[in-house]
């Protein structure tokens, strides 16, 4: 069982590199705090998931690097190789000379078809290295041109070429302002296209991570590297091996499939958010102790109050009374802040996790009326500590948490679209106004579905 990562564009490549770095660091670390046997099993499962082994003995990331511009890839390759602990395959990358220029249409309609064959060949080669392919993990931003446009195209190609594989798109949601001016257009086009071909979209908002860096990690001058490291940590906390309820003593061999089955079987609800606790600077860790009930209490409130980190949670938010009817509860002001879930997955890592009571996540009032908690809630566990945190919990949630950002993006893009600004840049590459309209329709449908949970 292996996951093939596809890193797309500058953002995708930078984040992807940090993810492999984090995973490798976690596995190599001596912080496991578990039995030797457990640690070995963890190590083996992780290696099989993310790395193939080269003759040199240095693990090789199961990844395909794609960018339309050479700078980032060459930088990424060399940094990885320099670490000495892992590297990328020398052959498994592709870049062109000229970027997509923040133009989704350029990435999707020009670069995509032009380079499809080469990219898919690379993917195929990587796939053949796996005994069992669990699926693809594509990492991309939705603001730029290559990650978003080419990313959407490549995802589509993956879906066509591997109809029975799982595809999880990790999408970096741009800062609300300041990265790319046409980011809302690009986002709308990306999300709507991914909604057709991907199985799930795991979203990280730059703004949120930035805040985590500032408030939890206490970083003064935050660089993209810091942001990416937090993202990588969160992703690692989900994708490192864990025991599912069913697999029993063995580490799950189907991480993507398990994740998808637990969270996104419904084709209309594919948006996943990720929260974790605790998160703090490394040097404070030594002075901190955590209790599982405390962690989970916070995590649950983060979920229902839609807080992205453990600081500044609104403790006033409560789940609606089971008695109140659904229609009336939507109108009440208090419940506007309540984040209704479709499904949640909690991952616990660290000692004593077996004794943890997860009952508070099985409360039916957390979930939409048409799913019962048995269907909607899952937990994975492992006694193996993750990344120096003696105990840590992560929550992957399919809930309304992205509703607001999504609504924002669609709204802003729609405003721009109404004044026809920048449209000529897209028509230049064959994306017409009608394509925009289709994308808007798709996303309005998604918004409406999530709103009416």
């Amino acid at each position: 069982m292996s996951i093939v990562a596809v890193q797309l564009g500058q953002c995708g490549n930078q984040v992807g590199h940090e993810v492999f770095n984090t995973i490798c660091g976690d596995v190599r670390g001596t912080h496991g705090l578990c039995s030797k046997k457990e640690n070995e099993a963890y190590h083996d499962a992780c290696t099989e998931r993310f790395f193939s082994e080269a003759e040199s003995g240095v693990p090789v990331a199961r990844a395909v690097l794609v960018d339309m511009e050479p700078k980032v890839i060459s930088q990424t390759l060399s940094i990885a190789a320099r670490s000495g602990h892992w590297k990328y395959d020398d052959q498994s990358h592709f870049c062109q000379k000229q970027g997509s220029g923040n133009n989704w249409a350029n990435g999707y309609s020009v670069h995509g078809p032009r380079n499809k064959e080469v990219i898919m060949n690379l993917v195929q080669k990587e796939v053949e290295k796996c005994d069992r392919l669990s699926g693809f993990f594509t990492i991309m931003s939705m603001a730029g041109g290559t990650g978003s446009g080419l990313g959407a195209f490549v995802t589509q190609c993956l879906r066509d070429a591997f109809p029975t594989s799982f595809i999880l798109n990790h999408v970096i949601w741009p800062y609300g302002t300041g990265e790319v001016i046409v980011q809302n257009y690009n986002s709308v086009l990306t999300l709507s296209h991914l909604y057709q071909s991907s199985d799930a979209l795991l979203v990280h908002e730059n703004d949120v991570i930035h805040k985590i860096c500032a408030q939890l990690m206490h970083i003064k001058q935050i660089s993209f590297r810091d942001v990416n490291q937090v993202i990588a940590h969160q992703l690692g906390s989900v994708f490192q091996p864990a025991h599912t309820a069913e697999a029993g003593l063995h580490y799950s061999r189907n991480p993507l499939g398990d994740l998808m089955e637990a969270l996104v079987p419904h084709p209309e609800f594919k948006m996943l958010g990720l929260r974790n606790i605790p998160q703090m600077p490394e040097n404070s860790l030594a002075y901190s102790t955590f209790s599982w009930p405390g962690l989970l209490k916070h995590l649950r409130q983060m979920l229902i109050a839609n807080a992205k980190m453990e600081e500044g949670i609104d403790w006033q938010v409560r789940p609606p009374c089971p008695g109140s009817s659904i229609s009336s509860s939507h109108s009440t002001n208090k419940l506007l802040h309540f984040n209704t879930s479709i499904a949640n997955l909690v991952i616990l890592r660290g000692k004593d996790m077996h004794s943890v009571d997860l009952g508070s996540f099985r409360d039916p009032s957390l979930y939409t009326s048409w799913l019962n908690p048995q269907d909607a809630f899952n937990a994975w566990k492992t006694p193996r500590a993750f990344n120096k945190y003696e105990k840590s919990a992560s929550l992957v949630s399919n809930s309304q948490f992205l509703l607001k950002p999504l609504d924002n993006v669609v709204g802003k893009a729609w405003n721009m679209f109404a004044s026809k600004a920048y449209i000529h840049q897209y028509t230049k590459f064959g994306i017409e106004e009608e394509d925009f309209l289709d994308s808007f329709t798709t996303l309005e449908q998604v918004i409406s579905s999530y709103t009416n949970l």
Binding site: M1, D131, R132, L133, S134, G135, T164, S165, F166, D199, N254, G257, M260, E261, V264, P265, H266, P267, E268, T368, S369, W370, L371, D375
Partner: protein, 440 residues
């Protein structure tokens, strides 16, 4: 005199050739011959165990005797056993051992019982896979009987169904990945152990065999099973030698019955059938068969009328053309050409009907997977010299071709059903104005 000694041997061999679980003491047969009630229960159990295996069910000792008896009767009916006396036997198993002996003997021949059981229970040391899709048919026809979970009805949201459906879709994908891995592993093992197997026909080890080499201490049981099976096979061979004795003996049973007058002939038994007919209205088997036949004949009829129209049009067009070019054609010696065409079409159609007809030679059940690289395949003369090759073999390409056809036809059936469903939904949606329906 010889027969006297031979009969116990034959019966003994027969009993030993039966699967261990269903094994019968030879004495039971002897007693049944005299219709002793003591033998009845043993016989019901035997038949139950055997038929249950044939029908792929799990054998459970705990099943109540009346359930067992009901099942046996039903299964015998299914195989076409028609002695009304059997069906009238009491459901507590208190009498009728001779009837059961007859049924058992009939079954023995009718469905090749022994051979069938031997093949089915074969100790599997190889990597096996089934080459047909019968098991799917089976599991899904059984699924229809699944009971509804209580209390589910009142809170089923379409979205919940979509959710479950999506989950199922994902599950299939995971299964696919698992299967692909399995293939890769099997292939590696086959490849790496190529040439190791002492059995030249196989050439390489199976997973079980390779595992056996690594952990021989875990395979005592397997060995014992193998030995037991060998003994069973030897008993079967013995049985085959002595079979005639048994059948002659069975005839004497019939003779006896005829003397007693308990063996009626067809002519004097119209009374009993009426008893069988009651309650016949609710037979779900017949129901489902009728539905299938209806659907099939619907499709056929449609095809038929389509063909009729097409043929009529073609024929008239062709006649016209021939008429206009008559002379020219005569010069070309057209009729011999037509003769040739007729021949070739006949061949083509023959091929078609052969495909369509129940293929007697079609492989069923599981086969041992064997890897033969193209090179070695030609060396062993696989396929080409079928007469020399003692073990029946089928190539993956053949099976794949068969499966592809099956896939296509199923796809078609599914599409038909979906269209039907959609039409129905559209019908409903038309009445509900302004609603967008997303079909599950």
């Amino acid at each position: 005199m010889r027969r006297c000694r031979a009969l116990p041997a034959a019966v003994g061999a027969l009993c030993r050739a039966l699967p261990p679980r269903a094994r019968l003491a030879p004495d039971v047969l002897r007693r049944a011959r005299f219709d002793r009630p003591q033998a009845t229960l043993d016989f019901w159990r035997l038949l139950y165990a055997l038929l249950k295996q044939i029908h792929g069910g799990e054998w459970t000792e705990s099943d109540a005797i009346d359930t067992q008896i009901r099942f046996v009767k039903s299964a015998l009916w299914y195989h076409g056993y028609g002695r009304p006396e059997l069906y009238q036997l009491p459901s507590d198993g208190s009498a009728g051992s001779r009837e059961l002996l007859l049924a058992f003997s009939w079954l023995l021949h009718r469905v090749n019982l022994l051979e069938w059981l031997l093949a089915r229970n074969r100790v599997k040391t190889g990597d096996e896979t089934s080459v047909c899709t019968c098991e799917d048919d089976l599991s899904h026809s059984q699924k229809d009987t699944t009971e509804m979970a209580p209390g589910l009805e009142d809170r089923v949201d379409v979205r919940y169904l979509q959710w479950l459906n999506g989950k199922l879709r994902f599950q299939w994908r995971s299964l696919h990945a698992q299967h692909q891995e399995q293939c890769k592993l099997l292939h590696k093992i086959h490849l790496f152990t190529s040439g190791s197997h002492t059995d030249q026909a196989l050439g390489h080890f199976s997973v079980t065999e390779t595992d056996l080499i690594r952990h021989p201490e875990n395979y005592n049981q397997l060995l014992q099973h193998l030995e037991l099976e060998t003994m069973q096979l030897e008993a079967f061979l013995e049985w085959k030698q002595l079979e005639a004795v048994y059948w002659q003996w069975m005839e004497t049973v019939l003779d006896n019955m005829a003397e007693e007058g308990s063996l009626r002939t067809v002519r004097d038994a119209p009374v009993e059938t009426s008893r069988l007919q009651e309650g016949a209205t609710c037979c779900p088997w017949a129901e489902s068969m009728t539905v299938q036949i209806d659907r099939l004949s619907g499709e056929m009829t449609a095809l038929h009328s389509q063909l009729q129209e097409l043929v009529a049009r073609r024929r008239s067009a062709w006649c016209q053309k021939v008429k206009t070019r008559e002379e020219e054609l005569q010069k070309e010696d057209f009729s011999t050409k037509l003769g040739k065409i007729e021949e070739s079409v006949e061949l083509k159609l023959l091929d078609l009907t052969n495909h369509g007809a129940p293929n007697k030679n079609k492989m069923h059940g599981s086969c041992r997977l064997v890897f033969r690289s193209k090179r070695s395949a030609s060396k062993t003369g696989f396929g080409g010299s079928a007469s020399k090759e003692p073990v029946p073999a089928v190539s993956a390409t053949e099976v794949i071709r068969e499966l592809r056809m099956r896939e296509a036809s199923l796809q078609r059936e599914l599409k038909q059903l979906q269209d039907e469903c959609k039409q129905r939904l559209d019908g409903i949606a038309e009445r509900l104005d302004g609603v967008i329906c997303i079909s599950p």
